[in-house]
């Protein structure tokens, strides 16, 4: 009663709500059977399960009459539901995509050809086909028939005697004789081959076996053995073929460089990291780590100079290093100080000089040791000896350089001059050294450190050397010329001056090499200096006669007066002019202040500084002037528009920076600058065509391809079946491949 009433009410409500026309659908009363049978009402819900065919078949008992139906049903069951076909646009798009990919693939075959043609210096059209080689006589003969009776007769004869007419040109007899190899020979050959094969198999088997061995110790031993062998070989190589040994050395150096770059053997790799964690607990891992580090050390070690290597040898020998570094590296170090043949190869002079060369390096130290032992009685003598030797050595060095420099015959006077200069400078150096020695001796009286003394001396000499080596080149400079003039008269002075300088350098070692530089710079900058320097006068043989006219004399005097007074003026004027030019070329600032805006304006009133600063737009600073460091020059920085009109102003295509393009146009192509052949080559036309010839488009056969591309394309277009999404995926995959 209650339920019914409610239903009635619901119906009523629905009827009312459907009155407005929106929901006019009439709800039907359901009356199917349902699983849930309520005692209260009828529910329309099913069991929620899908109807399976098997359920339908269950009641059907197995009967032969229904077997076919069952089979059909089973077949239906095994098939999946057919997916919705894609819409037309999508199918077309897929077709296009696939077609594009295929075509692109086909066409990409031409890429190398296109690239080649683009890069080719010259293209000749019509494309020339390869001239067929001259046809061999047999080919010609094959198409040829005997016509005349004589020919026929000859052919008959040939055929009768089984002579070859065409291919091949051997008679059967000849062939047989060629093929027949003597039995012994064949046997020997066979045996040889067998042996070789057997040996190879043995070797392979051995290698395989060895590869399988897992013992680390064994591998270690093998490695060591290998290293030793390599060392031995290197030794031998050194004796036999120094050049090859040098190459080997270079290889080692390269390995070092690689190691330094990659840091492969440092503890940064995956393996190393894992080992580092293990190392705490595992002795073996720790060892491995250490080995790795040692290896790194060994690889990154540079070839040392003699003294250091000696120290190392004297010092504690590292165990690991000895284990792992058999090594060529150490060996080289030992040899570096000795007279090894390949290091001295470049030296053009004889062996005696080589000996003197190596001496100064080797000798100082042992002597110094001696000195320290013998309380410095005979030390000065020894040191003087060293100095003398050094002196000699340097002289020889310079001579060599001189020889190489003055290859072409120059004025004899010139060389003489320079040589005298050198002698002078050497003397200077020598005296300085002597003085230094004196001082050092004095110092030694107070303190016993002898070895530092030697060490202190050495850097000085090293600094000295580049200066000396520069000498012959710099003679032409102003400064040098000045010296040249004074040299004769001031020889004594010069001898004494370096002594002072030497003392100074004792105090501050950096002082000396800097000094000449500074002096030079000053000269560059000070204009006054530049013009007022006294230049040496020429000692000419023929002095112009001055028995000339009176007015000439007068003019001379006037000149002298002018010289006396004009000088400063000229320089000041020039500087002023230069300043003006610099000012004029500077970009101007823009002043946007409006007087009277925001404050009082009028005659005699200036806008405030703050305001001016605020409205001043500073111009960007231009590039530095070319004559910034040249006091005596004003270089016009204005742009030459006439020249600029002839310059390139647009970068052509592949270039992104104007420097790149400039490189390609820097070589002149005119015949004025080139030989005739080079000129012709540089100006060959890009494309050459033969007049009166048809230029056919390029074909695949022309470049050695088979023309097969078309079939691929046609496949797709011929059967445009309906494609489902599954197909689409497949197609895409295939197109990507």
């Amino acid at each position: 009663g209650d339920n019914d009433g409610e239903r009635e009410h619901q119906k009523l409500l629905e009827a009312i709500s459907s009155l407005d026309g929106k929901n006019r659908r009439k709800l039907a009363e359901r009356s199917e059977a349902s699983l849930k049978v309520s005692e209260f009402n009828v529910s329309s819900e099913g069991s929620g399960e899908k109807l399976v065919l098997a359920d339908l078949l269950e009641p059907v008992k197995t009967s032969s009459s229904l077997a076919t139906v069952k089979k059909q049903l089973n077949r239906v069951k095994s098939k999946k539901t057919v997916e919705l076909p894609l819409n037309k646009e999508e199918i077309e798009r897929i077709h296009r995509e696939v077609a594009f990919n295929k075509t692109a693939k086909v066409l990409s075959k031409w890429d190398p050809v296109v690239l080649k043609n683009r890069q080719a210096e010259q293209l000749v059209f019509p494309l020339e086909k390869e001239e067929p080689a001259i046809a061999p006589i047999e080919h010609v003969l094959s198409g040829w028939k005997a016509r005349t009776p004589l020919e026929q007769e000859i052919f008959n004869l040939l055929h009768k005697n089984k002579q070859p007419v065409a291919d091949p040109l051997l008679t059967p007899v000849e062939k047989a004789s060629l093929q027949a190899m003597s039995l012994e020979e064949a046997k020997m050959r066979r045996a040889e081959l067998q042996r070789a094969r057997a040996l190879q198999s043995y070797y392979e088997a051995k290698a395989r076996r060895e590869k399988k061995i897992k013992s680390k110790k064994y591998h270690k031993v093998v490695k060591k053995g290998k290293a030793k062998k390599a060392l031995k070989e290197f030794e031998q190589l050194r004796k036999v073929n120094p050049a090859a040994a040098l190459e080997e050395l270079e290889k080692i150096e390269k390995a070092r460089m690689m190691e330094r770059m990659s840091l492969k053997h440092q503890n940064s790799g995956k393996w190393a990291k894992s080992k580092a964690i293990m190392a705490k607990y595992d002795l073996e891992a720790r060892q491995a780590m250490q080995e790795q580090l040692a290896k790194n050390k060994e690889l990154t070690q540079k070839l040392q100079v003699a003294s250091e290597s000696e120290e190392e040898e004297g010092g504690t020998e590292e165990k690991v290093e000895e284990l792992l570094v058999p090594d060529v590296v150490n060996e080289v170090q030992m040899n570096a100080d000795g007279p090894n043949p390949w290091m001295l190869r470049s030296c053009t002079s004889d062996t005696k000089e080589a000996a003197t060369q190596e001496d100064p390096e080797q000798l100082p130290e042992p002597e110094a040791h001696e000195v320290s032992e013998s309380e410095g009685e005979d030390r000065p003598v020894a040191e003087e000896e060293i100095l003398l030797r050094e002196f000699e050595e340097r002289r020889s060095l310079r001579k060599r350089s001189e020889l190489s420099q003055d290859a072409e015959p120059a004025g004899s006077q010139e060389t003489k001059d320079s040589s005298s200069q050198e002698v002078l400078s050497e003397l200077r150096v020598l005296s300085q050294k002597l003085k230094e020695n004196d001082q050092s001796r004095k110092q030694k009286a107070s303190s016993e450190g002898t070895i530092p003394q030697v060490q202190r001396e050495e850097p000085a000499t090293e600094e000295e050397e580049p200066l000396l080596l520069q000498r012959p080149e710099r003679v032409q400079t102003l400064e040098e010329l000045e010296e040249l003039g004074k040299e004769e008269c001031f020889q004594n002075k010069e001898l004494s001056r370096p002594v002072l300088e030497g003392q100074q350098s004792e105090r501050t070692p950096n002082n000396r090499p800097d000094a000449p530089k500074k002096k030079k710079k000053e000269q560059m900058i000070d204009l006054q200096n530049l013009l007022t320097t006294q230049s040496p006068s020429v000692k000419s043989l023929a002095v112009p006669t001055i028995e000339e006219l009176e007015d000439e004399e007068e003019r001379n005097q006037r000149q002298m007066i002018k010289e006396a007074f004009a000088g400063d003026d000229v320089i000041r004027d020039f500087l002023k002019e230069k300043r003006e030019a610099v000012e004029a070329s500077k970009p101007k600032d823009v002043d946007l202040t409006l007087p009277g805006w925001g404050e009082w304006g009028g005659v005699g009133l200036k806008p405030s500084a703050k305001k001016r600063r605020r409205f001043l737009i500073k111009a960007p600073e231009g590039p530095p002037r070319k004559d910034k460091n040249l006091p005596n020059v004003i270089i016009n920085e204005k742009r030459n528009i006439h020249t600029a009109a002839h310059q390139v102003r647009v970068l052509p295509y592949p270039f992104t920076h104007h420097w790149q393009f400039e490189r390609t146009i820097q070589t002149p192509i005119g015949s004025t600058w080139n030989t005739q052949r080079a000129f012709q080559k540089l100006t060959t036309p890009k494309v050459v065509t033969k007049p009166g010839h048809i230029i056919n488009p390029i074909k695949a056969e022309d470049v050695g391809y088979r023309s097969s591309s078309r079939s691929d394309l046609s496949v797709i277009q011929r059967n445009p079946k309906r494609i489902t999404t599954r197909h689409k995926k497949q197609l895409k995959k295939s197109s990507v491949d």
């Binding site: 080719a120 004899s412 020429v538 002095v543 000339e548 600029a644 592949p654 790149q660 030989t675 022309d702």
Partner: protein, 617 residues
């Protein structure tokens, strides 16, 4: 050589499918060929050497590049073994004869270097592969052409002359009579004196080929002659003071600066033109490649006259008073003017202002000369000094000498000898070679003339110096002065009339426009950066965006769920931050640099160092 010259055919290197052809038609076997049994090489009968040869040959032309490299031997002194020597078997020909010097002859590196023009000092920014290939092509081209040029140096058979004193003897002591005695008759005939005392000090000029000589005396005497054969072409008196004389492009035309105006005569002495726009000319210079006659006048004007069309190209007001010192730089056709305030100014017709001004002397400049390579400039001034300046950008004096009376005239020879006329003496200094400055320590030669020197010029392609003086004209022998090898197509001393006409046409066709004269003639091979940038800016304005700008970073889509929006944003952020950091780093560096500069400035301009400064840390 043959392979190098042929132009590549399109697509020839694509390997043709030979297999197919072979299957079609089996190649007939000749009876002398052994059967191709797959056995090892050594055992097969027949001539093995021949076969190997056939195999190796096609490999050679492929590594042409390597071969090309090896053509330049690194050490010219030590003859390096060419690569081919390593396997002589490959070289053996059928006859068994062997080329002892296979391949083209090696060329010394220095000679090749001389012809290389690409400036490789500047490091290029990273470039695309396409650009790189272009650059490589350009470099290869340069190398090839320079090698060819170096090879052709072999054709310069003549050697420069020289004068060598016996051990210790000063060459300056050797007088002309000795030289004349020592040399052959033909050379001895090149020394002569023209005694022309009547018409005052002479100016003189040789034609570009060095065959003809023109001289003009101050009192109006003008003459032109073929000085080698001593055949007089013309002799006139212009009845006016002659300031300077100069041949135009050929010996057929002669420009004479007379008292009032500039006149042009032909080789018969017939007056062709009187150019009134050039008045009171004191000095003349002719720029042969531009066909420009530069005149410096008393009124202070530098005028350029194009002689091919008869137009005045430029008249520049120098604003430095009377001009009477002028010379040209043969390298870049810039005119050097010397002024009374001790400066030398460099001029080009394209600019109203001097290209550069160099303060050279304390007194006025008396003479200027520039050497043929355009590297050195010699000046002499009223302060009796002779200086040699480096013109390659620095303009600093390389050497200075004080001469007893100062040099009034200077001239460089083709091979870099410097002559100075001082009163009635000429001094000649020589350098180490062609491209080195003359060392002023010792004169190479000296000669005394019968009167004060008024004009000097070395004769091109001859070891002869022409001196015009008050007593006439002297032609003296200076061994090693002239370039021994002349370019027969450019300036041929032995050319006939027909050849001259031919050359004239060619030269006119190759005339260089006057506005191209600038300090660095290689500037034409540079891109006009300012216009380039301007164009770029305009394009950006027109388009509204920068087409060449770097595209903002777009993270690539990744798979396996790493392409989530968050991770994309993260990656983007990462890159942005990196860029930002870079910017900050740069600006910081700049700031630091500025600060350092400031500090350096403060140090340099700081007050006088006080004694207390030593306590400052």
């Amino acid at each position: 050589m043959g392979e190098m010259e042929t132009a590549p055919k399109p697509g020839r290197d694509v390997p043709p499918k030979k297999d197919k052809l072979q299957t079609k038609r089996k190649k007939p076997r000749r009876y002398w060929e052994e059967e191709t049994v797959p056995t090892t090489d050594g055992a097969s009968p027949g001539p093995p050497c021949n076969k190997k040869n056939r195999e190796l040959r096609p490999q050679r032309p492929k590594n042409a590049h390597i071969l090309k490299k090896s053509r330049i031997s690194k050490q010219p002194q030590v003859p390096k073994k060419p690569q081919e020597w390593k396997n002589p078997e490959s070289q053996r020909s059928l006859s068994g004869a062997q080329d002892p010097f296979p391949g083209p002859a090696p060329v010394p590196v220095e000679v090749v270097q001389k012809f290389c023009r690409i400036d490789k000092s500047r490091k290029l920014p990273r470039s695309k592969a396409k650009t790189r290939s272009r650059l490589e092509v350009a470099e290869a081209e340069e190398e090839e052409t320079s090698i060819k040029a170096a090879r052709s140096e072999l054709l310069l058979a003549e050697e420069p002359g020289f004068l060598e004193g016996e051990d210790g003897e000063d060459t300056a002591k050797i007088c002309q009579a000795d030289i004349v005695e020592a040399v052959d008759i033909a050379s001895a005939a090149k020394h002569f004196d023209l005694n022309l005392r009547q018409f005052g000090p002479y100016r003189l000029n040789y034609s570009r080929t060095g065959r003809h000589l023109a001289f003009g005396g101050r009192r109006g005497h003008v003459a032109a002659l073929d000085w080698v054969t001593k055949k007089l072409m013309c002799e006139i008196n212009v009845m006016e003071a002659v300031r300077d004389i100069r041949f135009l492009h050929s010996e057929a035309l002669l420009a004479v600066a007379q008292n009032r105006w500039l006149h042009i005569y032909d080789n018969q002495g017939i007056e062709l033109h009187c150019i009134r726009r050039c008045d009171r000319v004191t000095r003349l210079e002719f720029l042969p490649f531009h066909f420009l006659l530069a005149t410096a006048s008393e009124t202070g004007f530098l005028t350029y006259l194009d002689v091919s069309v008869g137009k005045i190209v430029a008249a520049l007001n120098v604003r430095a008073g009377r001009l009477d010192v002028m010379s040209q730089n043969p390298y870049n056709a810039v005119i050097h003017l010397g002024h009374s305030n001790g400066t030398v100014s460099l001029w080009s017709p394209a600019m109203k202002e001097p290209l550069a001004k160099i303060l050279c002397h304390r007194g006025g400049v008396r003479a200027v000369a520039v050497d043929s390579t355009g590297t050195y400039m010699a000046t002499s001034g009223l302060d009796h000094q002779l200086k040699i300046f480096d013109l390659r950008g620095t303009y600093q004096p390389l050497s200075t000498r004080t001469l007893p009376h100062g040099a009034g005239h200077l001239a460089f020879s083709q091979r870099g000898l410097l002559v100075a006329g001082m009163g009635d003496v000429v001094n000649i200094w020589a350098g180490q070679g062609k491209a080195s400055p003359p060392s002023l320590e010792q004169p190479y030669l000296t000669h005394r003339l019968s009167g004060p020197v008024h004009g000097l010029q070395f004769c091109p392609f001859e070891d002869v110096l022409g001196v015009g003086h008050s007593g006439g004209v002297t032609s003296m022998l200076v061994p090693g002065a002239g370039e021994p090898n002349f370019d027969g197509l450019e300036s041929n001393p032995y050319r006939s009339r027909k050849q001259r006409q031919e050359w004239e046409v060619k030269a006119l066709l190759e005339k260089v426009p006057a506005e191209l004269i600038c300090l660095d003639p290689r500037a034409l091979a540079e891109v006009d950066v300012i216009s380039l940038e301007q164009g770029k800016k305009e394009r950006i304005e027109r388009l509204g965006y920068d087409p060449e700008a770097k595209a903002p970073f777009q993270p690539k889509p990744k798979q396996k769920g790493r392409s989530s929006t968050a991770s994309l944003v993260k990656r983007k952020r990462k890159v942005m931050d990196e860029e930002h950091r870079d910017k900050v780093r740069q600006s910081l560096q700049q700031q630091q640099q500025q600060q350092q500069q400031k500090e350096a400035k403060a140090k340099s301009t700081g007050a006088r160092p006080s004694a207390l400064d030593r306590f400052v840390r």
